[in-house]
């Protein structure tokens, strides 16, 4: 099994596991916590959905405490759902996912910049070596 196929079942598996763990009644508030990740899931075409994965991980980090509390409470009481849908909780979860997205995109920009600089440096060195070789081994007719 390839890495792409493995990644292809990781995200749905995590989502499915989360839903089963929180029970159907907790699914809706839980999904609302991960709305950016779900949105990304629907938009992302890349195999393995790496950005969705990042958003889910960061969303878990941002919403760990409410989710843990919801888990410990058993999730049977409507108050538990309300706690999950608390604006602060929601904001933390979404903000965390937003930070995850920013981190991924920022790192992408940084690495592209670094790779381009590296390529430019190597190209420049090659160009200057070609110029030096041309100057040394140019056709004799070009001599003064």
């Amino acid at each position: 099994m390839g890495g792409g196929a493995l990644r292809g079942i990781v995200v749905p598996g995590m989502l499915l596991g989360g839903v089963i763990a929180l029970a159907v009644c907790g699914a809706l508030p839980t999904l609302s916590l991960f709305l950016p990740a779900l949105l990304m899931l629907s938009l992302e075409q890349e195999p393995g959905r790496p950005m969705t994965r990042t958003l889910l991980l960061f969303g878990l980090v941002g919403a760990w405490d409410p989710l843990a509390a919801f888990w410990r409470a058993g999730g049977g009481h409507p108050m538990d759902w309300m706690q999950l849908l608390d604006l602060i909780t929601l904001a933390h979860a979404w903000l965390a996912q937003c930070l995850g997205w920013l981190l991924a995109e920022g790192l992408t920009l940084l690495l592209v910049y670094v790779a381009d600089r590296q390529a430019a440096r190597v190209g420049g060195m090659a160009q200057s070596e070609i110029h030096a070789l041309d100057a040394e081994w140019k056709a004799p007719a070009d001599d003064g």
């Binding site: 991924a104 690495l111 007719a141």
Partner: protein, 663 residues
């Protein structure tokens, strides 16, 4: 052997102004002082440029002593009192006067004086010379001296001109006399015996034999009547002297007594020569105004008028004369056979066929006849000195063409196989093949000039490139070129190339071949001819490596500068050009060559150029890859960034879980 600054021969012999001492033998002579010991009894005989001295004899006989013979002491280039350079042979000046001076009355010598003062001392001297492997070929009345009356004669110098070149017709056997003066060849000691016999008769009569006759008349008389009868003429001479002279003037050289036998005149006199007089025709045949009565004279007449002779040979008239008037059908048949044989090789060209036919007929008619080609007679061993005379002041025949067509034909095998030859046939053929090969070499490494100088080791170079300088040896060439080179980019012409290649004995033949063809810029590497010329000049400069040749170096510079373009590396080119220009400024030909003639460096340069080209290709490939792989780089960067972000998220999640789980 460059000319010393003081103009002395070999830096030792000073040429003095004033009256020339006797002994020059017809060539310009100068009194000489030996600066080592102040000796003043020497003279220097100036050698003509187109009639070189006898280098082999000079080399072998210098500082030898043969009593009653003037031998060479030294030879070399010097400056005559007039200021002109020349090649001189130094020899002792003759004492006394010539034995037969036309300006003074001469009393006939008595028999005893002839035997004791002339024959015996001359024969002993000739025998010594014969044992040394040489001939004299200059025994004539004006070149035999008697220091005082009653003294033994002294044979004058014979070394400053080709063998027999200065002999008058009367002192030479007819076959040698009919030859071109420069083509008489080394001959044999029998020719000296002949000349001594003529001198014997001349002194016995007190008159020059056959005086007042032209050379042609002398030869004709000798052939027709026999030498002894022609030379004695109407004079009455003692029978003992006649007996001696008859043997000495025998037509067949093998019948003449050797000098060692002449040293004992009594024994020589008792020797009888069985010579049959030539058959005489009943009526003469006219060949170009010459009334011919016998076969030998006919051969001579055919030789002196080749065009008319050829018509005669091809027509029926000669055959009829031989059969009916001369009464010799065997000879006529042999001539007819020769005509038939010679006509067959049509591929040789009509002119050569004609000459070949004529030569064949002449040697059938007279087995002693020399080679006759286009009206020029010569012995094959004299072809070198004959070549020296080509293009000279006395060459009105076009000797260059004569020798060229002669060597390219098969005349020498024909001549050497027929008749009585005085030279070894195998040696003649070998020399002929070598000479023909040289002549046929289609470049300046061969050709007529190379042949001329190869056969004449001390002939001065006749090229205008050396001006009036007397360039005889290799070491003379560069100083002469340095004096004349101003303004000339190319200082070596065909004549000088022939001289140099002959003296270098083929060591730089490739360079001379290069110089002989114009440079083809599309095929030849840059500076091809210039480098060849520089190699030759540098080879000449090796004799004096520390000496500088500024004029030659500067004039050669433009022709060799393009050689630097052979290096691919710009720094090498610039560096070598700088060295070259500095060396040219200094006049250092060897340094100039060293800067350019460096095959190891060129090889290394080519290898490095190939490596550089490969490297450029690799770099260009790398650049194109950098340009084309930008999208791939971005994908990789994005993937890496997402992996890093996921890793960060995982670490944070684990950290939060662990932190919350802690009590």
């Amino acid at each position: 052997m460059a000319v010393p600054e003081d103009g002395w021969i070999n830096g030792v012999y000073e040429l003095l102004t004033g009256e020339a001492p006797p002994g020059g033998g017809g060539l310009p002579g100068f009194a000489v002082r030996d600066h080592r010991n102040g000796r003043r009894d020497l003279m220097a005989v100036q050698v003509a440029r187109d009639a070189p001295a006898r280098s082999l004899a000079i080399g072998a006989l210098s500082n030898q002593t043969i009593e009653n013979m003037i031998l060479p002491v030294a030879s070399g280039v010097g400056v005559a009192p007039g200021g002109r350079e020349g090649f001189f042979v130094v020899q002792p000046a003759a004492a006394g006067r010539a034995v037969l001076d036309s300006s003074l009355p001469v009393t006939p010598w008595g028999e005893r004086a002839l035997l004791d003062n002339l024959l015996r001392p001359a024969a002993i001297a000739l025998d010594r010379l014969h044992q040394a492997g040489f001939t004299h070929r200059a025994i004539r009345a004006s070149n035999v001296f008697q220091p005082w009356e009653g003294a033994s004669v002294v044979l004058g110098g014979a070394w400053a001109a080709p063998p027999g070149a200065l002999q008058t017709a009367v002192f030479e056997p007819p076959y040698s006399a009919m030859c071109h003066p420069s083509g008489r060849g080394e001959g044999s000691i029998a020719d000296d015996v002949y000349a001594l016999g003529v001198l014997l008769i001349a002194l016995a009569t007190g008159e020059m034999p056959m005086a007042g006759m032209s050379a042609e008349e002398i030869i004709h008389h000798k052939l027709e009547r026999g030498s002894i009868a022609a030379v004695i003429g109407r004079h009455r001479i003692a029978s003992g002297i006649v007996d001696l002279a008859r043997g000495m003037l025998a037509e067949d050289p093998d019948h003449r007594p050797l000098p060692v036998l002449l040293a004992d005149p009594l024994a020589a006199r008792s020797r009888r020569v069985a010579a049959r007089p030539p058959s005489r025709a009943q009526i003469p045949i006219d060949v170009a105004g010459l009334a011919v009565w016998d076969a030998r004279s006919l051969a001579f007449a055919l030789q002196r008028a080749p065009e008319i002779g050829l018509r005669l040979v091809r027509g029926p008239e000669m055959d009829i004369w031989l059969r009916r008037a001369l009464g010799d059908p065997v000879l006529a048949s042999r001539v007819e056979e020769a005509v038939r044989d010679a006509i067959s090789p049509q591929e040789k060209g009509e002119h050569s066929v004609g000459q070949y036919l004529l030569l064949h007929v002449i040697i059938v008619l007279d087995r002693f006849a020399p080679c006759c080609w286009r009206g020029v007679a010569f012995f094959p061993d004299g072809i070198g000195t004959l070549a020296a005379a080509a293009d000279g002041s006395g060459d009105r025949i076009g000797l260059r063409d004569v020798i060229g067509s002669f060597l390219l034909s098969d005349a020498i095998p024909l001549w050497s196989d027929a008749g009585e030859r005085r030279a070894d046939s195998a040696v003649l053929r070998l020399d002929w093949r070598q000479n023909r090969m040289l002549l046929q070499t289609p470049s300046w490494a061969g050709g007529f000039a190379r042949l001329r100088y190869a056969l004449n080791p001390v002939q001065p170079c006749l090229s205008p490139m050396v001006g009036e300088s007397c360039v005889v040896r290799l070491s003379d060439a560069l100083p002469a070129l340095e004096r004349q080179a101003s303004g000339r980019e190319w200082v070596i012409d065909a004549e000088l190339a022939g001289f140099l290649s002959a003296r270098m004995k083929g060591r730089l033949d490739a360079e001379f071949s290069t110089l002989s063809v114009p440079e083809n810029r599309e095929i030849d590497p840059p500076g091809h001819r210039g480098l060849a010329q520089l190699r030759i000049l540098a080879r000449l400069a090796e004799a004096e490596p520390m000496r500088r040749w500024p004029v030659l170096a500067k004039t050669a510079l433009p022709s060799v500068e393009p050689v630097t373009l052979r290096w691919h590396a710009a720094t090498q080119r610039a560096q070598r050009r700088k060295i070259l220009r500095n060396a040219a400024q200094e006049g250092a030909l060897l340094l100039m060559l060293a800067a350019l003639d460096d095959p190891a460096s060129l090889h290394d340069d080519a290898r490095r150029a190939q490596l550089a080209a490969d490297r450029v290709l690799r770099l260009e490939h790398e650049l194109s890859q950098i340009a084309t792989q930008q999208a791939r780089r971005r994908i990789d960067a994005r993937r890496s960034a997402q992996e890093v972000a996921a890793a960060c998220g995982t670490i944070l999640l684990v950290a939060v879980v662990v932190w919350r789980a802690m009590p």
